[in-house]
């Protein structure tokens, strides 16, 4: 044993020698512990004679040190008084024993209890660290989003009635108008359009007829009647299982698609599905509402739409939010063609073409993003549309819906810029009304619920059917 090792071991043992007031006990403790450590080291050294390199590692020294602690505690166990009262006195009031030595020995004494507590503490610490890092990241994102929002092209426009409506900046595609598209050919199982779009009818089905109101400010309606024509397009993701998009998976991919189509047909979930090969399937006929949007809100220059199943066409891409490649090339092309067809057929404004995640709300807690599909990454430009992530959602800007950290985390840690603009618009409106934002928010929530009820009534008038559950029937 080297001189340095002796010194290190002696220092450790010495700290614990202060437990003993009686000289003979202290002497016995020092002698026994150091002698045993020396003997142990000699044994280990001899055993590792052929593995000299191991002895040079720090791990080896650490291991021997741990062993020394074991010997120390063993000796303390033997030599300290057995009566628990006396032992407690020694451990509590022995001022000359270093505090760390007392704590470590106590931990050793209660090690059977300390181990599970330690493990639990470690687990809590790990969880807290994980949660803390996540929380910090979200807040940093929010901070950065707020810090740089002045540079965003957010347009939160207030119309004559004071309502916030969606307004595209149209920077990406200035002056773009969809060309006139017409039906070229109609066969038993498909339709072909002048822009090359081909819509398959194999899974076509019917549902109840559309029926909705358009609201202006407050409870005022844009017009008295219930409207029936589609006014916008909502893009969805199927969130179904994704196989690798390779040629050898053709058959399996098609099998998956077939399962999806049957499910969507059965539940009347969307008006259109675009599979991974870019084939467009009509499911619920255009004049009928599909169960795709549940509780949702959107607005344009005409007014506010509540519950978009009735007023918007649902177009679903067979894909998943977390997929590496969200859309295949074929899906992108088909999505653009279908958008052109629908916009042309129903004179749909660019402002009314958005995604499900941007319109979905949860009335139970008055928060946005109950569903998350396409809250980021939707290729608006490739669809010939302006970027709706830059638009203030009416749910936030008009009705004061909020969000929480959990939601931000679920959508990837960052809000889209439109939300920030919406919050700003809402707060400005509260200021102009000389109300606190919370007061205005309460008023708007009451109004939203009233509008929801009116929308239900409109649908009942149109179909004489009760509205299905507010939760979307997505779940593949």
């Amino acid at each position: 044993m080297s001189v340095d090792s002796t010194l290190i071991y002696s220092r450790i043992v010495e700290r614990y020698a202060h437990f003993f007031d009686r000289p003979e006990l202290r002497l016995r403790f020092l002698n026994h512990t150091l002698a045993q450590q020396t003997a142990s080291r000699e044994k280990v050294d001899a055993a590792l004679e052929r593995f000299e390199f191991l002895k040079k590692t720090r791990f080896y020294e650490q291991l021997l040190r741990l062993w020394l602690y074991h010997l120390i505690f063993q000796e303390l166990g033997k030599l300290l008084p057995t009566a628990s009262k006396q032992r407690r006195q020694i451990l509590t009031f022995k001022s000359r024993t270093p505090f760390t030595a007392r704590v470590i020995f106590r931990c050793y004494q209660y090690r059977r209890a300390v181990y599970p507590v330690g493990l639990a503490t470690l687990a809590v610490l790990l969880f807290a660290t994980y949660y803390g890092v996540g929380w910090s990241a979200r807040h940093v994102n929010t901070y950065l989003a707020q810090r740089y929002r002045s540079g965003q092209r957010v347009v939160a426009v207030v119309n004559d009635q004071g309502s916030v409506y969606a307004q595209a900046s149209a920077r990406h595609l200035p002056g773009y108008k969809p060309e006139k598209v017409w039906l070229v050919e109609q066969k038993e199982n498909y339709e072909r359009y002048s822009n090359g779009a081909r819509i398959l009818n194999d899974f076509e089905t019917t549902n109840h007829a559309r029926g909705y109101y358009v609201f202006k400010q407050g409870r005022e309606l844009a017009d008295e009647g219930v409207r029936h024509e589609p006014v916008g397009i909502l893009y969805h993701t199927s969130e179904s299982d994704m196989l690798p998009f390779t040629a050898d998976n053709n058959a399996s991919i098609e099998t998956h698609t077939r399962g999806l189509l049957e499910y969507v047909k059965k539940n009347k979930s969307y008006n259109y599905v675009i599979d991974r090969f870019g084939q467009i399937y009509r499911i619920v006929r255009d004049e009928d509402a599909a169960n795709h949007a549940g509780n949702s809100l959107w607005a344009d220059s005409r007014g506010v739409y509540v519950g978009l199943n009735e007023s918007f066409l649902g177009v679903c891409f067979e894909t998943k939010t977390e997929a590496d490649e969200q859309l295949t090339e074929a899906q992108t092309v088909s999505g653009r063609l279908l958008t052109q067809v629908l916009r042309s057929n129903y004179q749909i404004d660019d402002a009314d073409c958005t995604t499900h995640g941007l319109v979905s709300v949860n009335p139970s807690n008055m928060r946005i993003c109950y569903h998350h599909d396409w809250t980021r990454g939707f290729p608006f430009e490739a669809m010939g549309l302006s970027d709706k992530y830059q638009v203030a959602p009416v749910s936030v800007g008009e009705f004061g819906f909020t969000y929480d950290d959990e939601m931000v985390s679920k959508i990837g840690g960052a809000l889209w810029p439109g939300v920030v603009a919406g919050e700003e618009a809402f707060n400005q409106r509260a200021g102009q009304s000389k109300l606190k934002p919370e007061e205005l928010r309460r008023q708007m929530h009451t109004l939203y619920r009233e509008q929801m009820e009116m929308q239900r009534a409109a649908r009942a008038t149109s179909t004489n059917e009760p509205e299905p559950s507010s939760a979307d029937q997505k779940g593949l």
Binding site: L7, S10, P23, L27, R28, L30, N31, L34
Partner: protein, 346 residues
């Protein structure tokens, strides 16, 4: 010895049976026993004897005074604490069973008398109790004798039923006085026959040695230079009147100063040399204390004299924290042996 008479019954019966560890300091001038943690229980006997030719008159005197003695056909031997009185009574020098810390080879009766003195103090063991006894460290020309000395004493103590273990005398000083330092420091015992030194680190003796100069050397040389007839007078003067912190007033005191300084100088030089020579010493990370013990260290001013001579010699090879005198210099070694025996006991 052809015929033996035991000491008077009253004293002989003090040999009861012992059932606890024992510490025994077997010094050139005194044998001290410690067998309890209470310092006042420590007992000692002079390690000396006086022999007088056998006569009925002398034996009657001894009997009347209740003295411890032994008789064979030629002589009567008075030993232990009665020796001084009887030596003064006969105006003769007491004889020593030990010389320079070891059994005295010149003294025919040394082993026998020492056994008798030890038996006065040490009762028989009950169940192989541990007994630690002091032995000197290695020194000039004493190495072979040391082995013999240790073996003889060990055999005798084992014959009394003990598990006998030898402890270096300097180390015993460390055990007795340096508990707070976890037995790290330098213990020096200034005995009658020699000075014993132990440099201890965490109870492990790193350096031990002895210097064959101490109280007897001082006495012998003072007697010689002063032309005295026997050393008892010199020894008594030294123990009762000497003050090393004051300037000497007479020739005897001056001579004592000179020989004390000689002893100390020899010891300090040897200590320096041992430190320089030793490669075994761990790098001690703190200053070490020095503790002085033994009868020769008793005179007033001894501590100051030692400290001043230590500092005067220039930088010491290790840092010294303080130099201190043992609480009770005469019983320190026995107490250290007792602590060692207790620590060895199960």
């Amino acid at each position: 010895m052809e015929e033996k008479n035991q000491a008077p019954a009253s004293k002989a019966e003090t040999l009861s049976i012992k059932s606890s560890p024992v510490g025994l300091d077997i010094g050139t001038s005194r044998i001290v026993i410690a067998d309890s943690p209470v310092n006042s229980d420590i007992r000692s006997q002079m390690n000396a004897f006086v022999a007088v030719p056998c006569s009925e008159m002398a034996e009657n005197v001894l009997k009347q005074r209740g003295m411890v003695y032994e008789r064979n056909c030629k002589n009567i031997y008075v030993y232990g604490n009665d020796t001084d009185f009887f030596a003064s009574f006969l105006d003769t020098d007491a004889r020593r069973p030990m010389h320079s810390g070891l059994l005295n080879p010149q003294e025919e009766m040394s082993q026998h008398i020492m056994q008798r003195i030890i038996q006065l103090l040490v009762p028989r063991a009950k169940r192989n109790e541990v007994l630690c006894f002091s032995v000197p460290g290695k020194g000039e020309g004493a190495n072979g004798n040391l082995v013999y000395h240790e073996a003889v004493l060990k055999n005798f103590l084992q014959s009394l039923g003990y598990n006998a273990k030898a402890i270096n005398e300097g180390q015993a000083v460390v055990f007795s006085e340096l508990q707070d330092e976890n037995f790290t420091g330098i213990g020096i015992s200034f005995g009658g026959g020699m000075c014993n030194v132990s440099v201890s680190f965490m109870s492990m003796p790193m350096i031990t040695f002895s210097v064959p100069k101490s109280g007897d050397y001082i006495d012998r040389n003072v007697v010689e230079v002063m032309g005295e007839r026997n050393s008892t007078k010199v020894r008594l003067f030294k123990e009762e009147n000497l003050d090393l912190s004051r300037q000497p007033k007479d020739d005897m005191t001056r001579a004592m100063h000179i020989f004390y300084e000689d002893v100390l100088q020899t010891l300090i030089e040897r200590l320096r040399a041992e430190f320089k020579r030793s490669s075994q010493l761990p790098k001690v990370d703190r200053p070490m204390p020095i503790v002085l013990a033994g009868g020769t260290a008793k005179p007033a001013g001894f501590l100051q004299k030692f400290e001043s001579m230590l500092r005067a010699g220039g930088e010491f090879p290790i840092e010294i924290s303080d130099v201190r005198m043992a609480k009770d210099p005469l019983t320190t070694t026995a107490n250290g042996c007792y602590i060692a025996a207790m620590s060895e006991s199960k």
